[in-house]
């Protein structure tokens, strides 16, 4: 199921990126290059062939795990991506853990104690986080915690402390989603008829929440995690830029600015595949948690 989607996505991306200025060779060689040199390089890079041919060649190479070399840097796309991926994944996973570990309990607690100070407080935090640009939060926190207070390293990945602030910034938006989603879900579940049935059986509030409400309320939350992940990957670009983390994000930004097509193409494809796989995993988890979902489908 995933394969045809991947194929078509690569085609669309290829088409989009083919709109990049044809004179890449000139860019690579510089302004002083002679027309002959440009033509030679164009031919070498295969940039003078029709679109479909180029696409087929690209996909052919891709099957052999050859995604080309960077036009502006001197590296192999797949190799560099693999080298940088662990850092991005580490920060992203930490961000997700942060967001779920704090967000879900906070959301559930807000729902249980509706209209309390906790509830209003977390609603306020959610509002703030959804309106705040991540790069601003990141920059301000970096200045405050790293420069002014000197508690944390400003950038890079030198110590374990380098991995405290970036995940928090990256996970801020997901944190807000988790709080809001689990709160809403819990409030919905508590109004359900089967909760009333449980109470009529003599279950205390504590029993009802623990044994009946939580499992049901987590089902939409799991789905939300999957959706948030795609956004988290997009946000990783910003976070890595602020904290100079040598991950996929920094590579991508430079590639976009330098109009380095192979790098952009490869990176976007890889990340799309990763996001697709994550969504499949999320679907599987949903099917495991919710007995109404048929695993076969």
């Amino acid at each position: 199921m995933l394969i045809p989607v991947i194929l078509s996505v690569t085609f669309i991306l290829f088409v989009i990126l083919s709109l990049a200025p044809g004179d890449v060779a000139r860019m690579v060689l510089g302004q002083d290059a002679t027309p002959e040199q440009v033509a030679t390089l164009n031919h070498q890079m295969g940039l003078d062939r029709p679109l479909l041919v180029r696409y087929v060649r690209y996909m052919g190479n891709a099957m052999k795990f050859d995604f080309g070399r960077s036009w502006t840097g001197n590296f192999d796309v797949l190799a560099e991506f693999s080298h940088r991926l662990p850092y991005t994944l580490l920060v992203s996973v930490l961000a997700l853990l942060f967001a779920t570990a704090i967000g879900i309990p906070l959301g559930i607690a807000s729902a249980i104690k509706q209209y309390s100070l906790l509830d209003y407080g977390s609603t306020f935090i959610v509002m703030l986080l959804f309106s705040m640009p991540a790069f601003w939060l990141g920059t301000m926190c970096q200045i405050f915690f790293c420069l002014t207070l000197r508690w944390l390293p400003v950038s890079g990945i030198s110590t374990w402390k380098s991995f405290i602030l970036p995940p928090v910034i990256l996970g801020a938006n997901t944190l807000a989603s988790m709080i809001r989603m689990s709160r809403t879900s819990m409030l919905d579940v508590v109004k359900m008829d089967y909760i009333r049935t449980a109470r009529a059986k003599g279950a205390s509030n504590h029993d009802v929440i623990l044994h009946h409400a939580i499992r049901n309320s987590l089902i939409p939350v799991v789905t939300q995690i999957g959706i948030s992940f795609a956004g988290t990957i997009g946000g990783a670009v910003v976070t890595e830029s602020i904290f100079a983390i040598p991950g996929i994000g920094t590579m991508l930004i430079n590639a976009v600015k330098g109009r380095d097509v192979p790098v952009v193409m490869g990176t976007v494809i890889f990340i799309t595949i990763i996001v697709g796989v994550i969504n499949l995993v999320v679907d599987l988890i949903c099917a495991l948690v919710d007995p109404r979902i048929d695993l076969a489908s």
Binding site: D193, A198, A203, S204, R215, N216, P291
Partner: protein
């Protein structure tokens, strides 16, 4: 005199007033309701939608929505003990064990992520924690067989059962602790007619087996006639007529509302061109009228009905709340 009479009744409700405090207005759902139920008695509670029947049932179990629902005044006595004002911990011991409730819609009454067996087992875990696991499992199996569901299916989930079977599961949950009082809120309304009959038959069998008293809430007079010993007709949150099934259906003396309800049912024997509904709608529970609540729909409405609330007149246990019967009552 009052002490011995209290002992006679399993459930005694006096002058109960229940309201919902919403943002717009106060909804007076139950207004001065009186009810007495003996052990093992089958009482039918008849009335249209919005008459306050479900509110009454929830009030007995003290399960009204916490912020909005409020028992304004009155008394609910269970086996002589006043329930209103009792802490939640006391009610937890009663619910599911001594009094249980079946709700209207079986499709949504069961937890979709728990197996059917676990949900029935939960009642035992809550109220008979000392039983061993084997004993509990055996009881669950036994109960499932009693309601006509193979015990082998207890590991399945609610969505794998039909509506009728779901309701049986709900009944199993309600009766496994052998309660003294069963509140059944329109248990068959959401089911089709053939299943209705099966469910009622099941309830009758089980009620006899465990000798539970049953309050059957319904808007169907047919079900009441078939299943119940006594009937209370409810309108605008209070009882307008009470009596045995024979008195309600057979006697000439009737509250005009009851008469209207019985008239609504088309007669198979006669050739009728039109149905005879009761015109108008029930009084707005946010703004109850000063006199009789039924006045604006009553074909026998008199001047006094609009301003003075009627008294309850009684003859041989047949009670009617209507000015029409003033002369008949000696008091």
């Amino acid at each position: 005199m009052s002490d011995t009479t209290n002992e006679k009744y399993l459930l005694e409700i006096k002058d109960l007033f229940v309201q919902y405090n919403t943002d717009d207005a106060v909804v007076h759902a139950v207004n001065g309701l009186n009810l007495r139920l003996k052990s093992g008695e089958k009482l039918g509670l008849v009335g249209e939608t919005g008459a306050g029947k479900t509110t009454l049932a929830l009030s007995i179990l003290q399960l009204l929505p916490k912020k909005v629902g409020q028992i304004a005044s009155g008394s609910i006595k269970y086996k002589g003990e006043e329930l209103i004002g009792k802490p939640d911990s006391y009610m937890l011991g009663l619910r599911g064990r001594r009094m249980s409730m079946i709700f209207q819609d079986p499709m949504t009454s069961l937890n979709p992520t728990k197996t059917v067996g676990d949900q029935i087992l939960e009642v035992l875990q809550l109220h008979f924690p000392d039983l061993s696991k084997a004993e509990k499992d055996a009881k669950v199996d036994e109960m499932l067989q009693l309601v006509g569901i193979p015990a082998s299916r207890k590991g399945e989930y609610p969505h794998q059962f039909s509506g009728g079977m779901k309701q049986r599961i709900v009944i199993a949950m309600a009766l496994i602790a052998e309660p003294e009082l069963l509140l059944a809120d329109e248990p068959t309304t959401a089911l089709d007619v053939t299943i209705q009959a099966q469910i009622l038959e099941l309830m009758r069998r089980l009620k006899d087996q465990f000798n539970s008293a049953v309050i059957l809430i319904t808007h169907s007079l047919g079900i009441v006639a078939e299943f119940c010993d006594n009937v209370s007709v409810i309108y605008s949150g209070h009882v307008v007529e009470h009596g045995s099934v024979e008195q309600i259906f057979g006697s000439d003396a009737k509250h005009p509302y009851t008469a209207g309800l019985i008239n609504c049912i088309p007669d198979l024997a006669k050739d009728e061109a039109r149905l005879k509904p009761i015109p108008g709608r029930m009084a707005d529970p946010r703004h109850l009228p000063a006199g009789c609540c039924f006045a604006d729909r009553c074909p026998h409405c008199m001047e006094i009905c609009k301003t003075v609330p009627p008294r309850m007149y009684e003859k041989d246990g047949h009670q009617i709340l209507c000015h029409l019967f003033e002369e008949k009552d000696g008091k």
